[in-house]
């Protein structure tokens, strides 16, 4: 067994991998928050609750309908995405003319309702979701054993993050979206249906959260609080990265996950607070965030 900084290599790499996995979820969630914020100018406090709904949706598909993991990777984001669109159409769209803080309060209320309902019907102890047969077991990488499912999560998360980035930065739809973020009335004047674009953006961001939820289901037990545990840290990630750039929030997410993993090796007690400490340092030195454009 080899040692790095007096720490056994496999332990170190194991924690880095765990960090990467957490980072994958931070990245996907903060990406969705950033996309939604760009278009709607609201912070979607319900993001964690919708992430949790994604995980529950895949659990329900499996246990009530017998639909397995891979189909639910597509079905669950679709279902929750449509739910998000309904939310946007019925309640959130009423707030665009008001102070942004009302959006935060409203989505906080939505999160309370969703989480409270799930807690009532499923308790808070958590439900197991089995790793799909195809992804069980572990691979020997030479320096450590990597559970296949964890490698899969990191891989899929990277692919999803970069596809989202490519859609927004490289396609004509993305160009319209970015233009509407900059100046919605002007884009509307060119004949683009901006309200529909906003609705679809919200649906897309929600689907991204739900997709992360499906990925998370086999790793963490499916329980009503799983979203809240994540979302508070994700807010810190968003403050650190700034919401100006898509790629920025992805990189920040992964990096903070790894930092958290490493802290677990060297100073376990601080692992829960290290992200917040990084946020403090960023606020002191670069208040607009690492990738933020405006103060």
């Amino acid at each position: 067994m080899f040692m790095i900084f007096g720490i056994p290599g496999p332990l170190l790499f194991g924690q880095v991998l765990l960090g990467l996995i957490n980072g994958a979820f931070y990245a996907m969630l903060s990406l969705g928050l950033a996309v939604i914020f760009g278009m709607l100018n609201i912070i979607n406090f319900a993001h964690g609750a919708l992430f949790m709904m994604g995980a529950f949706c895949s659990w329900m598909l499996l246990n009530y309908a017998g639909i397995g993991y891979f189909p639910s990777m597509i079905l669950a984001p679709l279902i929750i995405g449509v739910f998000g669109i309904v939310l946007e159409k019925t309640v959130i769209s009423r707030l665009y003319k008001l102070d942004h803080l009302y959006g935060l309060l409203l989505t906080f209320g939505l999160a309370l309702v969703i989480e409270g309902l799930f807690r009532n019907f499923y308790g808070s102890s958590g439900l197991p979701y089995r790793i799909p047969e195809f992804l069980t077991g572990a691979t020997n990488l030479g320096f450590m054993y990597m559970p296949n499912y964890r490698g899969w999560v990191v891989l899929v998360a990277v692919v999803v993050c970069f596809s989202t980035w490519a859609i927004i930065e490289k396609t004509s739809l993305g160009a319209t979206l970015r233009a509407a973020t900059e100046n919605a009335p002007l884009v509307q004047a060119f004949g683009v249906n901006v309200p529909r674009l906003i609705t679809l953006t919200y649906g897309g961001g929600v689907a991204l959260a739900a997709f992360a939820g499906v990925l998370a289901a086999p790793i963490y037990s499916v329980n009503p609080n799983m979203g809240t545990n994540f979302i508070n840290t994700v807010f810190a990630v968003v403050v650190i990265g700034g919401m100006g750039s898509i790629l920025g929030s992805v990189i920040t997410g992964f990096a903070l996950g790894v930092i958290e993993g490493l802290t677990k090796v060297f100073w376990p007690q601080a692992s829960a607070t290290v992200v917040f400490l990084v946020m403090v340092i960023v606020l002191l030195t670069r208040p607009r965030g690492l990738f933020g454009k405006t103060a």
């Binding site: 906080f108 209320g109 939505l110 508070n232 606020l283 208040p287």
Partner: protein, 310 residues
């Protein structure tokens, strides 16, 4: 001297009368809970209502105040007055540090930063030995006030809580109607103009934040004394959400709104306590209704109907 309008003076004396009479009809411990939360909400309202900054981390100051009061009462056997003052100072000190960081951003970012910083305090409380983790500091004695008044009876404790609440309420009103408060309102309405007039707006915001946190700490300390317990619930983010909800429900930026919001919400929680997570669902529904249809809040609507500023 407190800058009350005539209508507000009338409303204030009605409130004092209700506080004086109600313990003879209602359970004093419940009323003390209402008063502590009302003071907490008034402190929070100082930020959102008069500086226009939404703090989503006020539980940190409330909870730490509650821990410090509980700790000093139980292990140092301090006088009750001193323990509550220490709770308030803890809130103020913590507010100075966290506020210094948070006021670098405004609007939505301010809310997210305060939430994240408060979450950091929560994780600290979870790990630190002095909080006794999940157990909390239990069986805190109520002790003696000024060395002579024994606080173990509920009625005595009630009068102390009522006095603290009214003092805090008047202090906030005094702050709002001082020249300092006028500058705060100016910053809320138009910060660049306040800056161009030569005001250091960040200093003003920070002082207001520290005052708000100090009162939140006092409220937390009083609560710890009333119930003889300080736990992680006081410092966790649902408590921050609750204080936002109380203020929103009563009316943001109104003088009596936070008090009204606290009465309604505490009564609701009292009746719904046996239904478990339905309390959370109901809170969420109230949030949604308030934001969509009821943004003035209860007191704001009443004031609007009577054409008075309450």
């Amino acid at each position: 001297m407190f800058g009350f309008s005539r209508a507000q003076t009338v409303a204030f004396w009605i409130m004092v009368a209700i506080i004086a009479i109600s313990p003879f009809f209602l359970y004093p411990v419940f009323l003390m809970r209402v008063l502590c939360m009302a003071l907490f909400a008034c402190a929070f309202n100082l930020m959102i209502g008069y500086v226009g900054l939404l703090s989503f981390g006020h539980a940190a100051f409330f909870g730490m105040g509650s821990y410090v009061t509980a700790w000093t009462m139980k292990f140092w056997h301090l006088d009750a007055s001193l323990a509550i003052v220490l709770g308030g100072l803890t809130g103020a000190g913590l507010g100075l540090v966290l506020g210094y960081l948070a006021i670098r951003r405004s609007g939505i970012y301010f809310a997210m930063i305060t939430l994240a910083l408060a979450q950091m305090i929560y994780f600290f409380c979870l790990e630190a030995p002095f909080t006794h983790g999940e157990d909390g500091i239990q069986q805190v004695p109520r002790g003696v006030l000024f060395g002579v008044i024994d606080l173990s009876s509920d009625m005595t404790m009630y009068w102390l809580t009522a006095a603290i609440f009214i003092a805090g309420f008047l202090l906030i009103h005094r702050i709002i109607h001082s020249p300092f408060g006028q500058v705060l309102k100016g910053i809320r309405e138009n910060e660049p103009r306040a800056t161009s007039l030569g005001y250091r707006t960040d200093d003003y915001k920070l002082i207001a934040f520290v005052l708000s946190c100090m009162l939140a700490g006092v409220a937390g300390g009083t609560k710890a004394l009333v119930f003889g317990i300080a736990t992680l619930t006081d410092v966790n983010y649902p408590m921050s959400g609750e204080v936002v909800l109380m203020t929103l429900l009563g009316g943001l930026g109104t003088v009596f709104g936070p008090v009204m919001g606290s009465v309604v919400l505490m009564a609701m929680e009292n009746y719904l306590a046996e239904f478990g997570a339905w309390v959370t669902v109901t809170q969420g529904v109230i949030f949604i209704i308030c934001v969509l249809a009821f943004r003035r809040g209860i007191v704001g609507e009443i004031g609007n109907m009577l054409k008075l500023k309450l």
